[in-house]
């Protein structure tokens, strides 16, 4: 069985946030909700100042603490390693949110859906068709665009990235693009000391 994962190439990321917009569009995310974020870090002083961009996403941890603490069974891992939240089962207790070391969980407060993308209370037809997939009050996160993966497509952020900074594929296949990249460029996982075994890697 496959073990889907992602690699972020920090040398390639230019912080354009195209992935963030693609994710919000694909998943119809209301105002203030992000399943992926591009963080930035600045260091050094002029003329040697530097800024790097660090994309973040749910790491689909193999030993996912969010799944272990979920009291309702809403959080579960698919056979291909994608960590999912079953909207019908989630009670919105936020236990997963405090258990995720990467702060990758967001509660879909009812007011987020009422405000609308422009904060005026007007819900556009685009929002209307997308919001139906969420139950207000539940806690959500990135699911690697599982609806796309199921039909053989890459996640929306991956296909949108103009610099190929996001590489998606089967980590169990030694010939897959992410596996090769992790091997050749010494991929490292975020916060490995938390023992969550993330399936997202960073290369520099």
């Amino acid at each position: 069985m496959a073990r889907m994962g992602m690699v972020f190439d920090l040398k390639a990321c230019i912080g354009c946030n195209a992935c963030v917009v693609a994710c919000k569009q694909e998943n119809s995310l209301p105002d203030g909700v992000f399943f992926t974020k591009t963080l930035s870090e600045e260091y050094g002083v002029f003329p040697l100042a530097k800024r790097v961009y660090i994309p973040t996403i749910c790491n689909h941890c193999e030993d996912a603490p969010c799944e272990k603490v979920c009291p309702s069974g809403a959080t579960h891992t698919r056979e291909d390693g994608i960590v999912m939240v079953d909207d019908d089962k989630c009670i919105g207790c936020n236990s997963c949110a405090v258990a995720c070391p990467y702060d990758q969980r967001t509660q879909m407060d009812a007011e987020k859906f009422l405000k609308g993308l422009y904060g005026t209370g007007e819900i556009t037809p685009f929002e209307e068709q997308g919001y139906g997939r969420y139950t207000p009050g539940t806690v959500t996160k990135c699911d690697f665009c599982s609806q796309r993966v199921d039909v053989g497509l890459d996640p929306a952020c991956v296909v949108t990235c103009p610099t190929n900074a996001r590489i998606f594929g089967d980590l169990d296949d030694p010939q897959s693009a992410p596996s090769k990249m992790i091997r050749e460029r010494h991929g490292r996982q975020p916060l490995p000391e938390k023992n969550t075994k993330p399936k997202v890697y960073y290369v520099n």
């Binding site: 591009t38 009670i91 990467y102 702060d103």
Partner: protein, 299 residues
Amino acid sequence: MSIENKVFSGDTLKVGYRFQRHWDNSMAYAFFCAELGAGLYFVSMLLGSMIGMIAGLVVVSTGKPYFHLAHMGVPGKSWRAMLRPDRSWISRGLWALAGMVAFSVLYLLCLAFGEQFGIRPDSALLWVLQILSGAFTLAVMVYQGFAMSHSSAIAIWSSAIMPMASLLYSLVVGVAVVRVLLPAPQAAALTGSLELLLLGLAVMHLMLLHSGWHGSPGARTSIELLLQTLYAKWFWGAVVAAGIVLPALLLWFAPSSAAVTVIVAVGILAGFMAWRILIFKIGVYEPIMSMNPFRSANT
């Protein structure tokens, strides 16, 4: 590296520490009610105080569910939280709570009306009910600490001190409040136990400060938040002064009176409430990673 130089990213898109904000004050109140109610019930049961047992049971069975439901995103489905006792401390805690309420109600009913139905005070049934309600109550007193310590995300919570704190605070508030409800001679007899428990509380806080300060960057940051920011006045003023030092001084030096007993209990309750809120507020997520070659482990 002091707290002023640390990067707190908040809602910004910077690499840095992020505050725990998912468990808010209503969760803190729910935790408070559970530990207060269970502690009061447990101590009252050991001392045979019917009024204390009823008060504890009422606090647990009303305050705790009320504040939990207020926090829950989908309260209508909250029964689902009982489905995974095999892995989740929240589930286990709910089973413990259900067991505590069920067996305690039965125990109290048998105590109050049992003789009318032939249940004598020394009957095996009463003894079994007391053991069961006591065991489930003990579980309620500690499980919230385990729910916090179980995950490594919030470093300051990820420690065996959390369940210890839950148990200790439960016992301390239980004894402090039951002293208010008991007749003066019985209340006075508990002075020594309360002094010892307060000493235990002080040691527990010292252990937490010490282990956090010398622990991981996230734990250290939480302790810095507690001691060097606006939370410091609440920690020193409410948790330490009102919750431990003042009650201890009164217990040692003030002549015992109803007023002193009430002041001691109020001080301890205020300190406990402040502690429950603060421990949620100082929780932080560590920066996901840093590419900054000049950054030390503690920044």
